[in-house]
Symmetry: C2
Subunit: 139 residues, 2 copies
């Protein structure tokens, strides 16, 4: 029974949020001149065909990753968040989910938040590495 604990801890939402926060901290510490990221296309980091609004340069990604970290750290929910409100696909999804079993819905969002946070951590690390490439520093 003892060996199950570290495996469970790895899947803790709080730990995933902390990991993301520390990856962004590392990114900020490394990227001393964020302006070097301007106009560098971000195709490899974000899927540009999927959502037009994420087709920014690496500088846009840098700002976005920092903004999400601030929300993650405070865990504050913007109930009238315009970003989600203006996204019709997400709104449609929300409507469909309202009729769902609340237990499944709880796990769905917990799992979703965990997964998107882990994904953002990887994107942050990848962006940091890309900056190192730009300034010519080997990892």
């Amino acid at each position: 029974m003892q060996s199950a604990e570290p495996k469970l801890n790895k899947n803790s939402l709080l730990l995933a949020l902390r990991r993301y926060s520390s990856a962004v901290g590392e990114m900020e510490k490394t990227i001393l001149l964020p302006s070097l990221l301007r106009d560098v296309p971000s195709n490899e980091v974000w899927d540009c065909e999927a959502a037009e609004e994420t087709c920014r340069d690496l500088y846009g990604n840098y700002l976005m990753l920092k903004a999400i970290r601030n929300t993650a750290e405070s865990s504050l929910v913007l109930l009238d968040d315009h970003k989600t409100k203006n996204n019709t696909a997400l709104n449609k999804t929300l409507e469909q989910l309202l009729d769902t079993d609340p237990e499944a819905l709880f796990h769905f969002h917990l799992r979703g938040l965990f997964s998107v946070t882990s994904n953002l951590t990887k994107k942050t690390q990848s962006l940091t590495e890309k900056y190192m490439d730009i300034i010519g520093v080997a990892n």
Copy 2:
């Protein structure tokens, strides 16, 4: 600027999870004989037409609310959670969301988790009141 803080705190995910946890604690303290809830239909608490699996008696609801509280308290994510896996509607939704802007997706799940947690808190309080009615104690 000072007055904005309590308003923001009200929308904190951590606070919502704590509120839910305390509502379940209150329910456990009040419901000394959970077996009295057996075979009491739960139509008013859960929407039975929407998801067949939630059509349990109040005793089933009682157990479910406690189980979700345990997950909420540990914030552990069951990545191979069979409840979500077997729900085709949720799986379809997950697939659609994979292509979405990660920032919107983060807010979507944060908002969703906040909203389902607040909803579960209300259901817990309503179940506790129903038990008081059954044993004939006025609120």
